[in-house]
Symmetry: C2
DNA sequence: CAATTTGGGCGAACATGTTCACTAAATAGA
DNA sequence: TCTATTTAGTGAACATGTTCGCCCAAATTG
């Protein structure tokens, strides 16, 4: 009978990878990004230092891999639970607040991730851009629905507005990292709501 | 007669600092941020490694110090040459394009600077926030003038709009780092113009 | 002017992300 | 089944940002 998990080597590799990711999740979730060392992750996982680099090209990729499932789930959940009968502003705040909550509860981790965004290699960037585009497209749909409901001026270009939305979203997020006083999801959502009220509606 | 430059020690320290900054400007201007090593800066400046840390707390501060004069001059020039008789959009594009040109001609340097923004200590952040606030205030003035001229809806809050402007500005800038196709100042200015057309005017 | 303190300059030492040559076990090929 | 090849696993070695203790000339004190 054929093993669905592949060869023995593949199975073992997958197990090692799981060990690394578990250790990484624990450590990154506990201490600041800079405080977490690759050696620490290796030790806690019970494997050698070099092994980690057989699975992940660098520290940041390890971080990203350790939380990519969480982020994907967060994205799916946020989109799936959008209240369809509420006005556009409420819908957008709903989505944004979910993400803001994640960022503030994983503060140091998110900061490291976003900060290194600009240095990603092409492969990663493509993935991120794809993510962004999906987001923008979803927002476009919501905006068009808002235009149909008469909440948003119909002459505006929904795609451009969606981009502006993403822009405001990142701006609020950046503010959260730059100003100590802006690290509460509710406060961030308020700021975002204020911005889109003056620019979108 | 009293020396205006202070004690001999202060003069020598200032000279050393100037040597470091000159070396840093040369190296950071020539190669990527990561390729520039503190040892390299020290060697080129003809001083010891540890000396640099008597003048700058870390590599990024050195980078910032090396180009802070350029940036201040850029800011002053950009603001001083705003065409007063042109419409708001042209004024904003004028300012933004100056900055975009600087960023694209000092690409690696700007990327490192912006990326590390989120990790600054309080002192630096205060300085940056002050910078931002000055920018927002200036934008507020231009927006109000635009409202008086009838170009921008008068019922909008100029301060919030200025914040949205800053948000769009950073968004375009981030795009320049994330997408290879967006590294031309004219193109960036176009994207910015498109955004504010749909959100501000 | 002598004694003491200060602080700039210095490079060894340290921490840590990353690379590399090596081993051995798994796999493929004969 | 035996041999060759591949590759996960490994830790020493490397590169580099940063810290530390030392030195000594300048500044300060008395």
């Amino acid at each position: 009978m054929e093993q669905p998990k592949g060869t023995r080597r593949q199975v073992q590799k997958a197990e090692t990878r799981a060990l690394i990711l578990e250790s990484a999740r624990t450590l990154f979730g506990t201490q600041d990004y800079d405080r977490v060392t690759i050696r620490g992750v290796a030790t806690q996982a019970g494997i050698g230092l070099g092994t980690i680099y057989k699975h992940f090209p660098n520290k940041l990729s390890l971080l990203a891999a350790a939380f990519s499932d969480d982020l994907k789930r967060l994205y799916r959940d946020a989109m799936a639970t959008v209240p369809e009968d509420r006005p556009f502003k409420a819908q957008f705040v709903h989505i944004s607040k979910r993400f803001f909550t994640f960022y503030t509860t994983h503060f140091s981790l998110s900061r490291a991730y976003l900060s290194h965004l600009f240095f990603y290699e092409k492969e990663w960037l493509d993935q991120i851009n794809a993510f962004d585009e999906a987001y923008v497209q979803k927002m476009s749909e919501l905006i068009r629905a808002g235009q149909d409901k008469g909440e948003i001026r119909p002459e505006k270009d929904a795609d451009v507005l969606a981009m502006a939305l993403l822009s405001n979203y990142f701006f609020v997020l950046a503010n959260c990292f730059l100003r100590e006083g802006m690290r509460d999801p509710d406060q961030m959502a308020d700021m975002l709501a204020m911005l889109i009220e003056q620019t979108l509606l």
